[in-house]
Amino acid sequence: MSLKKYYEFLSLLVFYAVLFFLGLAIPGMWQPVSLIMFYVALGQCFNIFLGLTGYVDFGYVAFLAMGAYGMAIAVDLLHRQGLGVFIIFIGLVLAVLMSTLLSLAVGAVALRLRGAYFAIATIGVNEGFRYFIEGARLWGGSEGIIISGPLRQSLGPQTVNYLSTFVADVLVFLIAILAAFVTARIINGKMGYAMMALREDEDAAKVIGVNVTKYKIIAFVISASFAGLLGACAWTLKMTYVFPADVFLITYTIEAIAIVMLGGAGTLLGPAAGGLIYGILKYYLAIKLPGLQLLILAPLLIIIIVIFPEGVVGTIKKRGAWRPWNS
């Protein structure tokens, strides 16, 4: 593990640290910083699948929702046991477990399919699952789970307040760092080469002996379990409730795609750049033009796709690698 390979990751750490201390030092800055961080984390998590494999998952938000439910169910069931803060750890474990299980189930079916067929298979995951929860009246059905009461009972109001206004955001920071670290490990390792081969030409990769299905499933499950963590921390812990109509919103999938494409799919720095740009844009749009984010975001996404198909970081990287004397 030579350090040189991890320069990008280290610079990313510096970026996170700067953002973190900016949020702490400047009064009123924590809220925008935590919003930006959520989008950076979302981009990092989604990039592990979309960026590395080149497959689009239109149902990605379902895994965030699973994580949100995992945390809510854990708190709802166990708050009388006197577990204290340990309940949050159980919630995180359950969140990862549930999103991993769903991703294994979806991946085992959908990842046998190629390209467009895969996208078609995933397009209904979030709605299919949402309507299952509502239709079968699972986990509170369309009324959802509200955990603010149970949390207050077991941890006390002050701890809960601290948890939802500060700790949840710090956890999102940690998730972003962890996701970036995993991405760096994958890109620099054997799996990174396999992924690159698979992204460029799946048939050729198969012929030279790359187990494409295995790598696709690994990337899918890792990406989904990170989404579960993010859903548990950024939604359930922060909001202290889960409603199916909120957590299965296709908007988050679109945002994740936009961030990854904006920064550059498959790069380590791309999602961070995309998340930063998108987070700032969204924060100010939400103030200036409330309710119009998607109206502005959708054409932006189209323009990026048509003009900068490689994303911001990808385009700069390409420019950097361009050597006129060699051509």
Binding site: V56, A119, G135, V306
Partner: protein, 296 residues
């Protein structure tokens, strides 16, 4: 119980014709351009709003709206083709999927911006016919007949005209068609516009089946349904899609009837889950379609 099942299945066939028509455009675009239009449902929404506004503002019946919707669809299709799709032909699948997805969201948000997020509806009441076991409204019978008529007209157009033949040639063999002097770009533009026009037209007929009315986000549901139907019909063939629409209509209404006999569940929501499971199942077992379309 039997009457209810028979009534629901008949309704499934009637609705299935509209579903079939609503999916033909998706299959046509995929067959010719090899592009999956992930924003498909939003074009159905445009058609639905066309019918609504024509009816409430100008007292034009859905019959007249069909033509208007077709023209609007052609125009919208051509605009989207020349601004976005044309630049992406030959691009990786990821790019076209994202582009059509974003286009759909943009259309949806435009609709919400101009017309608001609320449900709207209109009532085109022509009376009902009593079939003994169920009542069927005349407007739905019109929808059935019109869907079949439009599908048949399109079929004739494909078989008898030079342009239709050119499109079929491109589906069959892109390079071969080029060698024969067919302007492939023009065929792409025409097929895309025709596909969108058919979809928008079907949106007019869809309004005759939505009891709660229409809203800007109604498209998602139809995107999912259209994918199930298109996959059932083999994805490449508009005719396969049209027939598969009937199968899907029967399946949907049949499963609704079965699910509503289970106590403690909401059959309407669960039917949507069943739709999704059917999609996964078909993709898994027979990804080239139950009706024997060819795969790649």
């Amino acid at each position: 119980m039997f009457d209810q099942l028979a009534g629901n299945l008949l309704f499934g066939i009637v609705l299935g014709a509209v579903y079939g028509l609503a999916t033909m455009g998706l299959s046509l675009i995929f067959g010719v351009l090899k592009i999956v239009n992930v924003g498909h449902g939003q074009f159905i929404m445009i058609g639905a709003y066309t019918a609504f506004w024509m009816f409430t503002l100008y007292k034009i019946s859905p019959l007249g709206s069909l033509f208007i919707a077709f023209i609007i669809g052609l125009a919208v299709g051509l605009i989207i083709f020349y601004t976005i799709i044309k630049r992406l032909t030959g691009a990786p699948e990821l790019t076209t999927l994202l582009a059509t997805f974003a286009t759909g969201i943009f259309i949806e948000e435009l609709a919400k911006f101009f017309w608001g997020p609320d449900y709207r509806g209109y009532n085109w009441d022509l009376g009902r016919v009593d079939l003994g076991f169920t009542l069927l409204s005349y407007s739905k019978i019109y929808a059935l007949l019109l869907s079949i008529a439009i599908a048949f007209l399109i079929y004739l157009w494909f078989q008898k005209t030079k342009l239709g033949m050119a499109i079929r040639a491109v589906v069959e063999d892109r390079q071969g068609a080029m060698v024969c002097g067919i302007d492939v770009q023009k065929v792409y533009a025409l097929s895309f516009a025709l596909g969108i026009a058919l979809t928008v037209t079907s949106g007019v007929l869809v309004t005759l089946f939505v009891p709660v009315g229409i809203n800007p986000y109604m498209g998602h549901e139809y995107t999912l349904k259209a994918f199930v139907i298109a996959v059932l019909g083999g994805l490449f063939s508009p005719w396969g899609a049209f027939y598969a629409g009937f199968i899907f209509g029967l399946l949907e209404n049949g499963s609704y009837t079965v699910l509503s006999s289970i106590p403690g569940v909401e059959p309407f929501s669960l039917t949507r889950t069943v739709t999704f499971l059917v999609l996964l199942l078909i993709l898994l077992i027979k990804p080239d379609g139950l009706l024997g379309g060819k795969n790649k």
